[in-house]
């Protein structure tokens, strides 16, 4: 197997607060290979976005990486100087944000925003940069791209703006894209188009993608493997088909039970009792134990084990078994 594009080892993020140190990301490890799409799911506050920001070096103070390593194409990047990190952003790692309505500068034509990014990272002339920008817009399916180069963001619909954002993330040909909830703010009818576009472009260019979302449908549609996060930790990590059809972590199982599926018809959805604990008030032992149907004394006394096989759980579910 070839070396992964992104390799995250035991990554932890800490936020010191008056009430104590919070750990929104706690010992997370995963790899993403060239051309692979890794879906990262979890509830709000599970640490998905925080992990993405940590990788690209955009944590806002006082949050900071407190442990672990991040490797990109064989180079360690979590220890880089701020200036080196800045050069790497956009060039090696592109990012797509959640809300396309607010992620573009409203006062600058989109063509200029593309061109400035290309000129920053690639050794090209202004004319070449403009040509590349135009090609980028065509690739993401902006109709009449040549005429739209001078258009301002408010002249586009939400879906079109997210296409522009994707073009911006891809314009310097990075080897990794971190897409942070790229479809959450869009109309349902547009969501599938954007996911399909992202998937197609990354397959063509061999770009690795970290797709952060809480939408199981998006995960099932786009990703090759899926990482499930809970309270800052990795609960389960595996090929998407296996995880979705035979979840091994009780939390994943609960998540799947609470997702409507056409194949199940109109059967009543399950819900996971309780809610995710606040970071300042994590229970002892496994963070999921108060909500877990299989929790026992062991779970309450010991932190969840390091990944065994696929799930980080003392009592992983055997495929086929129901609780």
């Amino acid at each position: 197997m070839t070396d992964p594009v992104l390799s995250v080892r035991n990554l932890s993020v800490e936020i010191p607060t008056r009430a104590g140190i919070l750990k929104p990301v706690d010992g997370v490890s995963y790899d993403i290979a060239k051309g692979e799409i890794l879906g990262v799911v979890g509830e709000s506050g599970a640490g998905k976005s925080m992990a993405g920001n940590a990788i690209i070096g955009l944590l806002t103070r006082p949050a900071h990486i407190s442990g672990g390593e991040v490797w990109l194409n064989g180079n360690r990047i979590d220890t880089l100087e701020p200036e080196m990190l800045r050069r790497m952003r956009g060039k090696e790692i592109g990012m797509v944000f959640q809300d396309p309505l607010t992620s573009l500068n409203p006062l600058l034509p989109i063509g200029d925003q593309l061109t400035e990014t290309i000129l920053e990272h690639l050794p090209v002339t202004k004319a070449e940069a403009e040509a590349r920008a135009l090609k980028g817009l065509e690739e993401v399916g902006i109709p009449a791209a040549a005429q739209r180069m001078g258009s301002y963001p408010h002249e586009f619909s939400g879906g079109m703006r997210q296409r522009v954002v994707i073009a911006l993330a891809l314009c310097a040909e990075p080897s990794l894209i971190i897409a942070d909830e790229p479809t959450t703010a869009l109309d349902v009818s547009v969501q599938a188009q954007i996911v399909a576009l992202l998937k197609k472009l990354c397959r063509e260019k061999g770009t690795a993608v970290m797709l952060v979302t809480h939408d199981m449908g998006v995960i099932a549609e786009a990703s090759d493997r899926v990482a499930v996060m809970y309270a800052g930790r990795l609960a389960e990590l595996g090929p998407v088909r296996d995880v979705l059809t035979h979840p091994m972590h009780p939390y994943t199982h609960g998540l799947m039970g609470s997702t409507p599926l056409a194949s199940k018809g109109l059967a009543r959805l399950n819900q996971i009792p309780g809610s995710m604990p606040r970071l300042g008030a994590l229970p002892d032992g496994c963070a999921f134990n108060p909500r877990c149907p299989k929790a026992d004394a062991k779970c309450r006394a010991n932190p969840a084990p390091v990944m065994n096989e696929r799930a980080s759980c003392w009592h992983p579910m055997i495929p086929g078994q129901t609780s």
């Binding site: 800045r86 790497m88 952003r89 956009g90 990012m95 992620s103 573009l104 920053e120």
Partner: protein, 323 residues
């Protein structure tokens, strides 16, 4: 753009009419000009003759009607004190005030905006602390006190700069400028600093708070995620967006320099309109006072018009709505 300007102009006419009424009404209460004109041992007959000559015994509406009629012919009246047409007097003094106010306005924008950005972007740097505490001082010390302090230090103690007057002036057509002689420049330094310190403080604080707001927005985070240089993110992306809410207030602020200029002109015996206005108040020179107010109103209106047009340039979203 033309339509918008015409629309603003119709507003301007309305505002001017209002100002003319207010100034006309207000100065009826400024005192009886005849007491200022006549010698102290005047006879009742002389007094009655004076009242009649100035039409002061006519009903108010008749007086105002006659005033408007003269105004429509461009006749602002004759100064009671100087016995010359008011318009000529104003235009003699206008260049001195205009040069002072414009220099101060330009300087406060050129210094206030970059300092506002600096204090927002690098809140921990030594320069930020210095500018912030300096701005507190500039905002809290009254203008006349700053003027007197500066005069004491630089004119009296150090003897570097003149303490009053405009220095040598040069006639440029009808414009009496002090900016073409070295003594003129030396004379304008202290009054300009006196006027500008407060303006810098206000603009700095406005820009700083607007920038702090914008720096948290998504498109600035996205610009950072694209690996753009800090200078580009701050000045090309963040600053123009931060300026949009601030431009109006900066415009009004520069307009208000005109009123602060009265104090400064008195302190430095600057031969401008402000000093003339204070003298006119003492002499109950009604036509001169009314004319000064009108000129100030026109100045404000012009600045507001410029600000409105600036919005059309700054914000493409407005341009679309109006076209």
């Amino acid at each position: 753009m033309l339509g918008a300007s015409l629309y603003r102009l119709s507003h301007a006419v309305f505002v001017l009419a209002l100002v003319s009424i207010i100034s006309f009404v207000m100065f009826r209460f400024a005192g009886d000009p005849c007491y200022a004109i006549l010698p102290i041992d005047h006879t009742p007959l002389q007094y009655a003759d004076c009242r009649a000559r100035l039409f002061l015994d006519d009903p108010f509406l008749v007086q105002y009607g006659a005033y408007l009629e003269r105004l429509s012919r461009g006749d602002l009246g004759v100064s009671l004190h100087y016995g010359e047409p008011v318009l000529g007097l104003i235009f003699q003094r206008f260049p001195a005030t205009f040069e002072l106010v414009m220099l101060s306005g330009i300087l406060s924008v050129l210094i206030g905006i970059p300092l506002g950005v600096l204090t927002a972007v690098r809140p921990t740097s030594r320069w930020s602390g210095l500018s912030l505490s300096g701005s507190l001082l500039g905002a809290s010390l009254p203008t006349f006190l700053i003027g007197i302090l500066l005069m004491w230090i630089f004119a009296v103690e150090l003897r570097w700069l003149p303490s009053f007057g405009r220095g040598e002036t040069v006639m440029l057509g009808h414009w009496d400028t002090g900016l073409l002689s070295s003594s003129g420049w030396r004379s304008i330094i202290l009054p300009v600093i006196t006027l500008t310190l407060f303006q810098i403080a206000v603009i700095l604080r406005l820009v700083r708070s607007a920038m702090l707001e914008i720096l948290r927005s998504d498109f600035v985070r996205f610009a950072n995620a694209r690996g753009l240089r800090a200078g580009r993110v701050n000045y090309i992306h963040a600053l123009p967006n931060a300026l949009i809410p601030v431009v109006t207030i900066i415009g009004l602020q520069i307009g208000s320099v005109l009123s602060f200029a009265i104090v400064t002109e008195v302190v430095f015996q600057w031969p401008g309109m402000g000093l003339m206005f204070v003298n006119a108040l003492q002499a109950v020179d009604l036509p001169l006072m009314a004319a000064y107010l009108l000129v100030c109103a026109v100045f404000f209106l012009v600045i507001n018009l410029v600000v409105d047009l600036l919005y059309l340039v700054l914000d493409p979203r407005i341009a679309v709505e109006r076209s």
